[in-house]
C-alpha cells in the first residue's frame, strides 16, 4: 500500500476531486467576491465597474464601523471566556464526582442548532413572559430590563447565548488535550509537593499551549464572522445596535440590494480575519513550545 500511496499519479488522482471542490467552492468565490466589490451592482441587473468606490464608501460608513466594533467586542468576550472554559476543563479532568455528567451537560448546546438556541433564548429573554424577567420580578425588581429591545444592553444580552453555545466545544477540546498530558509528569510534580493549582499552571497548561493557541484563533475568527444566532434573534436590531459584520453584509446584499457593496464588506471581513489570524500566530510563535521530556 505504501508503494501505491507514493505513486505520483495516484496522489494526483486522489487529490484532484477535493482540490477541484476546494478551488470551485472556496477560492473562486473569494476571488469573485473581491471582483464584485469593485462593481455597482444590485444583484439583478447589469454590473458597472466603479473601481474602489465601494471600499472608499466603506471607510466612511459609520454603520459598518459600528458592526466591526461589535464583532471585535464579541471576539474579546469569546477570548476571555476561553479562560473560564479552560478552568472548567481543568476541574473536570481532575477526578471529581460527576465529571462525566457535567461534561455531557456542557456539551448539550453544541448538539442544538443555532436556530433552536435562538428560539430558546428568545423565550428566556421575553420582556413579560420570559423566565429571566419573571425571576427578576419575583426577586423584587420593579423595572425589569427589555433585553432585546434596549439598544444599550442588547449586544451583551445576545453574547450570553453565543458564549453558552460554544462552551461545550471548547471545554471538550481542552478536556481532550488535558487528558493527553502524561500522568507520570503530574505524578512526579505531586511527589515534589506541588498542589493542584501549581500542577495546572506549571505543567498542564504549558503542555497544552498549542491547543490553546488554536482555540484562540478559532474563537476570534469565529466571532468575527458570526452570524446565525444574531440574525434570528434580533436581525441586527434595534436600529443596528446588535449588528455585526456578517449581518451587515447580509443586510446590504439581501435587504438593500447592494451586492457590490456587500461584496466589499465580505472582502473586508475576510481580510480582517486573515490579519487577525496572522497577528495571533505572530504573537504566539515567539515562545518555545514546551515538549514532553
Amino acid at each position: 500500500m505504501d508503494k501505491v500511496m507514493s505513486n505520483k499519479t495516484v496522489i494526483a488522482l486522489f487529490v484532484w476531486p477535493s482540490l477541484l471542490l476546494l478551488v470551485v467552492l472556496i477560492y473562486m468565490p473569494i476571488v469573485l467576491t473581491g471582483y464584485y466589490g469593485l462593481m455597482d451592482w444590485d444583484g439583478v441587473g447589469g454590473m458597472a465597474f466603479i473601481g474602489l468606490a465601494n471600499y472608499k464608501e466603506l471607510l466612511r460608513d459609520g454603520l459598518f464601523w459600528n458592526s466591526v466594533k461589535h464583532s471585535f467586542l464579541l471576539a474579546v468576550f469569546s477570548t476571555v471566556s476561553l479562560l473560564v472554559y479552560l478552568l472548567v476543563a481543568l476541574v473536570l479532568s481532575a477526578r471529581i464526582r460527576g465529571a462525566n455528567v457535567f461534561r455531557k451537560i456542557y456539551l448539550i448546546p453544541m448538539l442544538l442548532s443555532s436556530v433552536a438556541i435562538a428560539q430558546l433564548w428568545l423565550k428566556i429573554f421575553h420582556p413579560t413572559n420570559g423566565i429571566l424577567n419573571d425571576a427578576l420580578a419575583r426577586l423584587g425588581v420593579q423595572d425589569t430590563p427589555e433585553w432585546l429591545s434596549n439598544p444599550s444592553i442588547v449586544l451583551y444580552a445576545i453574547f450570553i447565548p453565543i458564549l453558552w453555545q460554544y462552551a461545550g466545544f471548547y471545554i471538550l477540546i481542552y478536556y481532550a488535550a488535558l487528558k493527553n498530558v502524561p500522568a507520570d509528569l503530574i505524578e512526579a510534580a505531586r511527589i515534589d509537593g506541588a498542589g493542584p493549582w501549581r500542577v495546572a499552571v506549571s505543567i498542564r497548561i504549558p503542555l497544552i499551549a498549542e491547543v490553546i493557541k488554536v482555540t484562540v484563533v478559532l474563537a476570534i475568527v469565529g466571532s468575527l464572522k458570526y452570524f446565525d444566532l444574531i440574525y434570528v434573534m434580533t436581525g441586527g436590531g434595534p436600529n443596528g445596535a446588535s449588528e455585526v459584520m456578517a449581518s451587515y453584509m447580509y443586510r446590504k446584499a439581501f435587504r438593500e440590494y447592494d451586492f457590490g457593496y456587500a461584496s466589499a464588506v465580505g472582502f473586508c471581513l475576510l481580510l480582517i480575519c486573515l490579519i487577525m489570524t496572522w497577528l495571533i500566530r505572530k504573537a504566539t510563535a515567539a515562545k518555545d513550545n514546551v515538549q514532553y521530556s
Binding site: 505513486n7 486522489f14 444590485d42 421575553h126 433585553w147 432585546l148 434580533t234 436600529n239
Partner: protein, 440 residues
C-alpha cells in the same frame, strides 16, 4: 500488486467522477422541456404559501393547479414553496443566474423595481387588455406598473384597520374612537388600569411603520407622504415631523406592550390574541383569525371588532383614507421558455384565486368580488364595504420606496419607537436617503 494498483486507480477515478456528477445533478435540471414544440409543457411556479404556515392558501394553490392541469393535459406545473424570507433570498440568487421560475410571486413597487429594470419580468398588459379586462379592483394593478407597462398581476388586496377587543373596551366603558384625542384617552385609560393598550411587534419594523403612516395621512392628507417619497415633496414637511412626535408621545404614554422593539410581529400579536392587549393594527390578511380560523377559540373571535384610524383635529386627512394595497402579485419570467403558456396559467390563476380566496381563505382578493353568492362572516363583509367606500389607499411606505431607502425608513422607525432619534433627525435621515437614491 498490479491489480491492487489498478483497483486503487479505478476507485480514485470513480470517486472523482462521482463528485463531479453529484455536483452537476443540482444545476443541470433546468434544461429545455420542449415548450416551443407545443406538446408537453412544464411550468415552474414558485410561491410563498407553505402547507404548514399558510395551510388554506397552500390548498387553494394546489386546487387551482389541479384544475388547470385537468383542463390542459399537456401542462405540468411544478411547484416550489418557500417561506417569506427564504423566498426573497432565493429570488435574489436565481435572478443573478437568470434562472427565475416561469411564474413566481413578487411584491409591488419598490421591491420589484430592480427586477423590472433588469428586464427579468415580462409585461402582462396583453392579459389586462384581453380576458382580464375590468376584472381587477381599480388601482390594484397600478402598483405593479412601471413606465406604462404592468409587470405582475396582484392576487390580494389589503387594507389595515385597527382591531380591538370588545370585551376589554366594555370593561372600561370605552367606545371605538372617532378622533385622535378620543383614541389617546382610551390609551390613557387602559394604560392606567394596567392593560396594554396596543399590541405591537416592532422587530419586524413595518408593523410600527403602519402607525406612522396613518398619523402622516391624518395630519397631512394622503399626498404628503407619497410626495415626500416620489420627491415632488419633502420629508421635512411639518406634518411628517408632527407624525413622528405623535409616535414618541404614544411610546411615552406606554401605549405599546413592553419590549415591542425586540418582539416579532407574531410575538406582539400574541398579546392581542391572549386578550392581554386591547388593540392591534394589522392588514386584512389577519381576518381569518377573527372569522373562520378553527384554531382560535370562538369566544375570542366573537370579541373582535375593528375601527378606522381616527381623524386628527385640524389634520387634512380623511377617515376613509386607508393604508394598504395589493399584496403579492404573479409575474412571468422574461426568460421563460414557455412564456405564452405561463401567461395563460397566470390569467387562470388570478381569476380562480378570486373565487377561492373569499369562500375558503377569507382574505380579500384583488379581483372584483360578487359577495351575493357566498355566505360570509359579518366582519369580512363590513371590511369589504369599507374598502368600497375608501377614498384613498396608501401603499405601505417600505414598499413604495426603493430597497435602500426602505431599509433606512424601517431602521428609523425602530429608532423612533425606541427613542434613539428625535423626530427632527428621523425626517432628516429619510430626506437624505431618498435624495441620495434618486440623485444616483
Amino acid at each position: 500488486m498490479v491489480s491492487r494498483k489498478a483497483l486503487t486507480v479505478t476507485m480514485a477515478a470513480s470517486l472523482g467522477f462521482g463528485a463531479v456528477l453529484a455536483g452537476c445533478g443540482d444545476s443541470g435540471d433546468g434544461g429545455d422541456k420542449g415548450g416551443a414544440s407545443g406538446q408537453k409543457v412544464t411550468i415552474k411556479l414558485m410561491h410563498l404559501w407553505p402547507a404548514g404556515s399558510s395551510a388554506t392558501q397552500n390548498k387553494i394553490v394546489n386546487d387551482i393547479i389541479n384544475e388547470y392541469q385537468a383542463a390542459n393535459t399537456n401542462v405540468t406545473i411544478e411547484q416550489e414553496v418557500l417561506e417569506n424570507e427564504q423566498y426573497k433570498n432565493k429570488m435574489k440568487v436565481l435572478s443573478t443566474s437568470d434562472k427565475l421560475p416561469d411564474v413566481g410571486m413578487t411584491w409591488a413597487a419598490g421591491y420589484m423595481e430592480p427586477y423590472v429594470k433588469g428586464e427579468m419580468f415580462a409585461p402582462l398588459d396583453d392579459l389586462l387588455q384581453g380576458e382580464l379586462k375590468d376584472k381587477f379592483v381599480k388601482g390594484t394593478t397600478e402598483a405593479y406598473a412601471f413606465g406604462g407597462k404592468t409587470y405582475a398581476l396582484p392576487v390580494e388586496l389589503n387594507i389595515v384597520p385597527v382591531y380591538y377587543n370588545k370585551a376589554i373596551f366594555a370593561q372600561y366603558n370605552l367606545q371605538p374612537p372617532k378622533t385622535y384625542d378620543e383614541f389617546k384617552k382610551i390609551v390613557q385609560t387602559l394604560a392606567s388600569n394596567g392593560v396594554t393598550p396596543i399590541a405591537l411587534g416592532n422587530k419586524d419594523r413595518w408593523t410600527g411603520s403602519l402607525w406612522y403612516m396613518y398619523l402622516a395621512d391624518r395630519l397631512g392628507g394622503p399626498e404628503t407622504l407619497k410626495k415626500a417619497i416620489d420627491r415632488t415633496g419633502s420629508f421635512e414637511d411639518p406634518n411628517l415631523i408632527r407624525a413622528a412626535q405623535e409616535i414618541t408621545q404614544l411610546v411615552d404614554m406606554n401605549a405599546f406592550n413592553k419590549g415591542f422593539n425586540g418582539l416579532s410581529n407574531d410575538e406582539g400579536k400574541a398579546e392581542f390574541m391572549n386578550s392581554k392587549a386591547a388593540m392591534y393594527m394589522m392588514g386584512t390578511w389577519e381576518l381569518p383569525n377573527y372569522t373562520t380560523n378553527k384554531d382560535v377559540p370562538q369566544s375570542f373571535r366573537d370579541q373582535i371588532g375593528f375601527f378606522k384610524f381616527p381623524t386628527v383635529d385640524g389634520g387634512k386627512g380623511n377617515v376613509e383614507s386607508w393604508v394598504g394595497g395589493p399584496g403579492v402579485g404573479l409575474f412571468v419570467s422574461n426568460n421563460s421558455k414557455v412564456k405564452e403558456e405561463a401567461k395563460k396559467f397566470v390569467s387562470f390563476f388570478v381569476q380562480k384565486w378570486g373565487e377561492h380566496a373569499i369562500s375558503e381563505a377569507g382574505v380579500i382578493p384583488a379581483t372584483k368580488v360578487d359577495t351575493a353568492k357566498v355566505k360570509l362572516p359579518q366582519l369580512y363583509i363590513d371590511l369589504l364595504n369599507e374598502l368600497n367606500k375608501a377614498s384613498n389607499i396608501t401603499l405601505f411606505a417600505d414598499v413604495q420606496m426603493n430597497p435602500a431607502s426602505a431599509e433606512v425608513h424601517l431602521n428609523m422607525i425602530q429608532a423612533l419607537y425606541g427613542k434613539a432619534v428625535t423626530p427632527e433627525d428621523f425626517v432628516k435621515k429619510h430626506e437624505e436617503s431618498l435624495a441620495k437614491e434618486t440623485g444616483k
